[in-house]
C-alpha cells in the first residue's frame, strides 16, 4: 500500500536528484551564478544556498502534509479516515506554522543583513583598488581607467586578487552592469554614479552583459572581463598607454550613435566624458545627458568607505 501512495512525491524527488546531478556534472560550468570566480560572487552564492536550504525545509514540510492530506482524505467509497466536518482550529498547530517560517526566515535574515553591509564596503586590502569608470552607451560599454589613463570599449582588463571599484554611469537609457561570475549587478543610470566593487580570485575571461533592456540592440551589449595577474595588468596598462591611440572627443561622439560596435582600445581619453570627482563634474557638451548646465545635479553615490 505504502509505495503506491508515495509514488508521486517519489517521482518528484527523482527529478530533483536529476537536476542536482546535472548541476554538479560537466555542464555545471555554464551555471555561471553557481560558479563564482571571486569573493563577491562567492558570498552571494553562500546566501543563495543557505536560503535555498531553509526554503527547501518549508517546501518539504508542506509537500508531506499536502500529499498526505489529499491521499488520505480523498472522497472515495470505503475511505476509513476520520471525517470531522466541524474541526476548524487547533491552537498549537496554528502557533507552530507562524513560528516555523519565522524561525527559518530569521536564519536567512541575519546573514542577509551582514552580507548586504559587507558588500557595500571595499574590503581592507594591501593593494589599493583599481578604479574603472564604466559608461553604458547605446548599445556598448565604455571602460575608462583614471589611474592608468587608458580606455577600452566592450572589454576590460582587471588584475586578480585586487578589489576593483567600478564606478557606473550611463550616457544612454538605463542599463545594468552584470558579470555573473564575479558578482551581482548594479544599474548604470544617466546623471548618477553608482559604485560596485568586484574581485576576481583567479585569472580567466568572465562574460558580462547588460541586465536592463534599453532598446533593439540591447542583447548585444555583452563584454568580457579579462582577469590577469597584477604584473600582467601593469604591463598591459603601460603598453596600452604608450602604444594605443588616444580617444578623442570625436571618438566619443561616435560611440554615442545608436549602434553596436566591436572592441576598441585607447591610450587616453577626454576627461569630461565621465562625471568623476577629479574632473570636478564639469561635463560640458559631451553627450546627451552630459549637457547638464548644473553640475550639482549629478548624484555621486559613494561607497561607505571610499579609498
Amino acid at each position: 500500500m505504502l509505495p503506491m501512495r508515495f509514488k508521486k512525491p517519489y517521482r518528484k524527488l527523482m527529478l530533483v536528484a536529476m537536476v542536482a546531478g546535472l548541476l554538479s556534472a560537466g555542464c555545471g560550468q555554464q551555471y555561471v551564478m553557481l560558479n563564482p570566480a571571486g569573493p563577491v560572487g562567492q558570498k552571494e552564492l553562500h546566501l543563495m544556498i543557505l536560503a535555498s536550504v531553509a526554503m527547501a525545509i518549508v517546501i518539504a514540510v508542506v509537500f508531506v502534509l499536502f500529499f498526505y492530506a489529499i491521499i488520505r482524505f480523498r472522497d472515495k467509497p470505503g475511505n476509513t479516515a476520520p471525517y470531522r466536518p466541524d474541526w476548524h482550529s487547533h491552537k498549537w498547530l496554528e502557533i507552530l506554522w507562524w513560528v516555523l517560517p519565522a524561525v527559518l526566515l530569521t536564519v536567512i535574515a541575519i546573514p542577509t543583513v551582514k552580507t548586504t553591509y559587507a558588500l557595500d564596503r571595499l574590503p581592507k586590502s594591501k593593494q589599493k583598488p583599481v578604479v574603472i569608470d564604466v559608461t553604458s552607451l547605446t548599445w556598448k560599454w565604455l571602460f575608462q581607467y583614471p589611474g592608468q589613463q587608458v580606455a577600452t570599449v566592450n572589454y576590460a582588463v582587471i588584475p586578480t586578487g585586487v578589489p576593483v571599484l567600478f564606478e557606473l554611469t550611463a550616457d544612454s537609457p538605463m542599463n545594468a552592469f552584470w558579470v555573473p561570475q564575479l558578482g551581482g549587478m548594479e544599474y548604470t543610470m544617466p546623471n548618477r554614479v553608482l559604485p560596485l566593487w568586484l574581485e576576481a580570485s583567479k585569472s580567466g575571461i568572465y562574460a558580462g552583459r547588460s541586465g536592463q533592456y534599453s532598446g533593439t540592440g540591447f542583447e548585444k551589449m555583452t563584454f568580457n572581463i579579462k582577469a590577469v595577474s597584477p604584473q600582467a595588468f601593469q604591463t598591459w596598462a603601460h603598453e596600452t598607454h604608450s602604444t594605443a591611440r588616444p580617444m578623442s572627443m570625436y571618438d566619443y561622439n561616435q560611440l554615442l550613435k545608436f549602434n553596436t560596435v566591436g572592441t576598441a582600445t585607447y591610450s587616453n581619453y577626454p576627461l569630461d566624458t565621465f562625471p568623476t570627482i577629479a574632473s570636478g563634474f564639469t561635463l560640458n557638451g559631451t553627450g546627451m545627458y552630459m549637457t547638464m548646465r548644473n553640475k550639482n545635479s549629478i548624484t555621486y553615490m559613494p561607497m561607505s568607505a571610499k579609498p
Partner: protein, 656 residues
C-alpha cells in the same frame, strides 16, 4: 497634413509586417461578419438593451469575463511568439523591434487586461450574491468602470495595427520610454490606455469596498463574511491606495511625452528614479491585488470540496489583513540594484521576508481544511491542488529574491521571470480557472464538462512546469530578461527549447479550455438545483442563472457558511410565502456609461496622435456624459411584487 503623411503616421512600417497585415484582414472580416450577423438576426436592439446599457452586476460580470478570455488569447499568442523567437540561438522569427513590442504587450495585457478584468468578473458575479444583496452599491458607476476598462483595453489593442505598439516593457521605465528614445505613438498608447482603464479600476475598488461595508444581509457580521468577501474587500482597499501612485506616474510620463514637461526626462533635470519608485509603490500592492482574490476563491473551493469548514478562519482574516498592510512596505525589492544603499535595501529585504510569513500561514490552513474532510477531485478543486505546491515553490523563490545580495545576481535574470510566472500562473491563473469552473453554473446555468476540464487542467499544469523549470535554470546560467536572441555555446539552447515546448502544451490547454466552454454552453448539463456542488455560501441558495433581482427576500444570516448552516437545519430560501415578497427597487439601465467609455476612447486615441480637435470633441463628450448623469435622478424603477411572485413561482420557489 497630407494624405501620405497621415497614412504614414497611422501605418508606419512597424505595423506593415506580413503577419500583422494578415491579422488586419482577419479582423476586418470578423468585424464585418459580426455586424452582418447582428443585422441579419435583428439583434441590435437586444445588444443595446440587454448588454451595452445594462447596470446589472451579473451581466457586467459576463462582459468582463468575455473580455478577459479574449485578452488571455491575445496575451497567449504573444507568449507563443516570444517563445518561438527564443527557441533557437540567433533566430530571426521576427524583427528585434517587433519582439520588443510583443513582450511589452504580453506583460501589459496579461496583468491589466486579462487578470484584472477576470478578477472583477468574479467580484461582479459573486460578491452581491454572497453577501445577500441585490446589486452593488453604485450600479451605474460599476457600468462606467467596465466601459472605461473596455475603452482602455480596445485602445491598447489597437496599437499593433494602427501606429505601432509600445515597446518599453510592461513597466515603461524612463528614460527609454521618453520621447527622445521612443518617438512613435506606442508609449502614448500605453500611458493613455492604462490611465483610462486605471480610472475604471479605482472606481471598482471604491464600489466594492462600499458594497461590502454597507450592503451585507442582516446578520452577516464581519467575522461571518465568507473569505472570498474578505479578500474582495481587502483587494478593493489595496486598489484604492495602490492605483493613485500609478495614475500619477502615468499622467506625468504622458505630460513629458505630449506636452514637453520634464518630470522624468533628464534633459531638464527630471528624475527617472521617481517614476521607478512610483511605479513599484503601485506595483507591489498590485501583485497582491492579483493574488488575494484568488486566495479568497481557494478558501471557498477548498471548504466546499472537502465538505468541511475552513480551518482557522480568524487566522485567515488576520493574515490577509497583515498582507494588505505589509504590501505597501516592500516596493524597493524591485530595485535593490539601483544603489539605494545597504540600509534601505536591508529594510525592504526584511519587510519582504516578513510578508512571506502570513502568506505561508494560509497554505497550512488550506491543507488543514482538507485534513479530516472528504476531498473531491473536481476540476475546480484540481486547480486548488495544483496551486498549493506550485505557489509554495513560487513563494520560496520569492524569498530567495528578497535576500538582497542574492537578488543582486537574480535580478532581471530568467530566475526572476520564472519566480513571478510561478506565483502569477500558479496563484492567479490557476485561481481564476478554479473560480471559472466553480461559479460557471451560477453565472450561466450549466456545468462545464468535467472530463474536458480535466484535460485542460493537466495540459495547463504540466505545461506550466515544463515551461518555467528551465527558466529557473536559464537564470542560473546568466540569461537576462527581454533579450531578443542569444548566441549558441552558452548552454541556453536546450533549456529554451524545453521551455517553448511547455508553452505549446499550455497553448493546447487553452484550446481545450475554450472547446470546453463552448461545448458545455451548448450541450452542458443544466444546473436545475442552483446548488450543484452542495455549496456553503449564499449564492448557492439561488437558482442558476440568478434572476435579475437576486433575492426575492433578503436572507437573514445566523452563522458563517450561512447556506450550509441553513441546509443543516433543513431551511431553504426556496419556500417563499407570497406575503414575504414586496416591491423591489432596482437600478435602471443607462446609456451614459457606454457613451462615457466611447468619449474616453476618443480622447485617448486623439491624444495618442496629438490630434487636438479630436481630443476636444471627446472631452466635450466626457463633460456632457458627466453632466447628464449628475442631473439624472430617474435612475431606478420598481419591480412589482407580483412580477417577482410570478418569476419565483415559475422557478418553483413559491409556496401555495
Amino acid at each position: 497634413m497630407s494624405f501620405s503623411h497621415l497614412a504614414h503616421t497611422l501605418f508606419p512600417p512597424s505595423v506593415r509586417l506580413p503577419d500583422i497585415l494578415l491579422i488586419d484582414v482577419g479582423l476586418v472580416l470578423a468585424g464585418l461578419g459580426i455586424l452582418g450577423l447582428l443585422t441579419k438576426t435583428r439583434r441590435w436592439g437586444w445588444l443595446w438593451r440587454e448588454w451595452l446599457t445594462t447596470v446589472d452586476h451579473k451581466k457586467i460580470a459576463v462582459m468582463y469575463m468575455i473580455a478577459a478570455l479574449v485578452m488571455l488569447l491575445r496575451g497567449g499568442i504573444d507568449a507563443e511568439m516570444l517563445r518561438a523567437q527564443l527557441a533557437a540561438p540567433g533566430a530571426h522569427f521576427m524583427p528585434a523591434s517587433q519582439y520588443d513590442e510583443v513582450f511589452t504587450t504580453h506583460g501589459t495585457i496579461m496583468i491589466f487586461f486579462m487578470a484584472m478584468p477576470f478578477i472583477f468578473a468574479l467580484f461582479n458575479a459573486v460578491v452581491p450574491l454572497m453577501i445577500g444583496a441585490r446589486d452593488v452599491a453604485f450600479p451605474r458607476l460599476n457600468a462606467m468602470s467596465y466601459w472605461l476598462f473596455a475603452a482602455g483595453a480596445i485602445l491598447f489593442n489597437l496599437s499593433f495595427i494602427i501606429g505601432g505598439s509600445p515597446n518599453a516593457g510592461w513597466t515603461g521605465y524612463p528614460p527609454y520610454s521618453e520621447l527622445l528614445f521612443n518617438p512613435g505613438p506606442g508609449e502614448n498608447y500605453y500611458f493613455l490606455s492604462l490611465l483610462i482603464a486605471g480610472m475604471g479600476t479605482t472606481m471598482t475598488g471604491i464600489n466594492f469596498l462600499v458594497t461590502i461595508v454597507r450592503m451585507r444581509a442582516p446578520g452577516m457580521t464581519l467575522m461571518r463574511m465568507p473569505l472570498f468577501i474578505w479578500s474582495a474587500m481587502v483587494t478593493s482597499a489595496l486598489v484604492l491606495f495602490a492605483f493613485p501612485p500609478l495614475t500619477v506616474a502615468l499622467a506625468m510620463s504622458l505630460f513629458d511625452r505630449v506636452f514637453g514637461s520634464s518630470f522624468f526626462t533628464l534633459a531638464h533635470g527630471g528624475m527617472p528614479m521617481m517614476y521607478v519608485n512610483l511605479f513599484w509603490l503601485f506595483g507591489h500592492p498590485e501583485v497582491y491585488i492579483l493574488v488575494i482574490p484568488l486566495f479568497g476563491v481557494f478558501s471557498e473551493v477548498v471548504a466546499t470540496f472537502s465538505k468541511k469548514q475552513l480551518f482557522g478562519y480568524p487566522i485567515m482574516v488576520v493574515s490577509i489583513l497583515a498582507i494588505m498592510f505589509l504590501s505597501y512596505g516592500t516596493w524597493v525589492h524591485h530595485f535593490f540594484t539601483m544603489g539605494a544603499g545597504p540600509g534601505v535595501n536591508v529594510f525592504f529585504g526584511l519587510s519582504t521576508m516578513l510578508i512571506a510569513i502570513p502568506t505561508g500561514v494560509k497554505i497550512f490552513n488550506w491543507i488543514f481544511t482538507m485534513w479530516g474532510g472528504r476531498v473531491q477531485y473536481t476540476v475546480a478543486m484540481l486547480y486548488q491542488l495544483a496551486f498549493i505546491p506550485t505557489f509554495v515553490i513560487g513563494g520560496a523563490t520569492g524569498v530567495l529574491l528578497a535576500v538582497v545580495p542574492a537578488d543582486y545576481q537574480f535580478h532581471n535574470s530568467y530566475f526572476l521571470i520564472a519566480h513571478f510566472h510561478n506565483v502569477i500562473i500558479g496563484g492567479t491563473l490557476f485561481g481564476l480557472l478554479s473560480a471559472l469552473y466553480y461559479w460557471w453554473p451560477k453565472m450561466f446555468g450549466m456545468k462545464l464538462n468535467e472530463q474536458q476540464g480535466k484535460w485542460a487542467f493537466w495540459l495547463f499544469f504540466i505545461g506550466f512546469w515544463v515551461t518555467f523549470t528551465p527558466q529557473y535554470l536559464l537564470g542560473l546560467k546568466g540569461m537576462t530578461r527581454r533579450i531578443y536572441t542569444y548566441p549558441s555555446g552558452l548552454g541556453w539552447h536546450n533549456l529554451n527549447v524545453i521551455s517553448t515546448v511547455g508553452a505549446l502544451i499550455m497553448g493546447a490547454g487553452f484550446v481545450v479550455l475554450v472547446f470546453n466552454l463552448v461545448w458545455s454552453y451548448v450541450y452542458g448539463e443544466r444546473d436545475l438545483t442552483g446548488d450543484p456542488w452542495d455549496g456553503r455560501t449564499l449564492e448557492w441558495s439561488l437558482p442558476s442563472p440568478v434572476p435579475e433581482y437576486n433575492f426575492a427576500r433578503i436572507p437573514v444570516v445566523h452563522s458563517r457558511d450561512a447556506w450550509w448552516d441553513m441546509k443543516q437545519k433543513g431551511q431553504s430560501l426556496a419556500a417563499l410565502r407570497p406575503e414575504d415578497v414586496h416591491d423591489i427597487e432596482m437600478p435602471k439601465n443607462s446609456p451614459i456609461p457606454f457613451l462615457l467609455g466611447v468619449a474616453f476612447f476618443v480622447v485617448g486615441f486623439g491624444m495618442t496622435f496629438k490630434w487636438w480637435p479630436i481630443v476636444i470633441v471627446g472631452g466635450l463628450g466626457i463633460v456632457l456624459c458627466l453632466l447628464f448623469t449628475g442631473f439624472d435622478y430617474d435612475d431606478h424603477h420598481h419591480l412589482q411584487a407580483d412580477t417577482v411572485r410570478q418569476s419565483e413561482a415559475s422557478l418553483g420557489r413559491l409556496q401555495g
